[in-house]
Symmetry: C2
Subunit: 223 residues, 2 copies
Amino acid sequence: MSKKAVIVLSGGLDSTTCMGIAKAEGYDLYPITFHYGQRHNREVEQAIEVGKYYGVADHRIVDLTFLKDIGGSALTDETLDVPTETEEGIPVTYVPARNMIFLALASAYAEVIGATAVYTGVSAVDYSGYPDCRPEFIHSMEETINLATKAGVTGKNILVKTPLINLSKKETIEAGLSLNVPYELTTSCYNGKESACGKCDSCLLRLKGFKEAGSFDPIAYEN
Amino acid sequence: MSKKAVIVLSGGLDSTTCMGIAKAEGYDLYPITFHYGQRHNREVEQAIEVGKYYGVADHRIVDLTFLKDIGGSALTDETLDVPTETEEGIPVTYVPARNMIFLALASAYAEVIGATAVYTGVSAVDYSGYPDCRPEFIHSMEETINLATKAGVTGKNILVKTPLINLSKKETIEAGLSLNVPYELTTSCYNGKESACGKCDSCLLRLKGFKEAGSFDPIAYEN
């Protein structure tokens, strides 16, 4: 019997790796992608390409420009600069409660289509100081989801799966390469241009990961 | 010193009562209203009127038509009939994980504006069998919110306030009348026409509440 998983798919390296892992775990893939006025808007286009690569039956693109409207993050607020090196503490690229919002919406979708798992590519290792990438948040969120939904009340729980939570970027890339994850279709740069900048927090983590995994990043970078 | 509260305001009787209670508790009011293709779309117009009545500095209207797109509820799916009497179990008007989604978005907004409370008008008494109206859901959600946000990490917790959770509709109306809550601006009917139908689950509860409170509902009903 087929089983369904909703994948929170940004079009970045981590969530695309989750597509490969969920597929390997036997799930039919139902990606959901959030468009929230992020500078790296290119991610949405990349996410659509990733969905096509995996031949998904349905791919939901959800408008959340509200997150841009309320501001508070360098990822969505054009008046704030994206930092060019890794920061201490909670960085300005933090988007308020983003993963909570994504998982809440993904769970509602899971409930409607009868999916039993929601995958998110958060990592507590390279988590950049975002509060909603920590395991304690994920555990609490899973409990809340099952209290909020019909699925939970009727005993058909929705699992929140975080296969990358204890993996470094290197280990994520190694896992993905072994599953033929199409990294050439992904983008991670916070600046969202045609070529990745190679300088932002996210580019630096990605490049370091490929190097440590003894591989090469297949995407284009600015000179 | 002023303190801010985000109010999840639907334009219905309960959430409008929360506006009156939060004001009485000394908060500056920041309502947030969700537009999700509900049949009772009139609610959004009513919510705007309620916001004006209270002279709010800002009122966020958030597009969540995604909830209509995924379907699964008679409130948003025009192919399902709204029942004309109270049902057993989880009713077809249940919108998947609606309160979880609303509270997640309201908390992100609270974090950005520095609000310390989020009010929601859920009631466990007249809760119509919706899983996300139960106290155990609210407690879990509050914990999740504080794990997901910078506010929680830095010790400035966001409280989820549910002043109606143990109140019957009668008691809610009594509380609201004592605070001069403008019930003439509210609407509760699931069918969302100019005049309330007086027959749906929501109308029946409202009418019963006014009657038990020894008062009259000031809005118009169909003959």
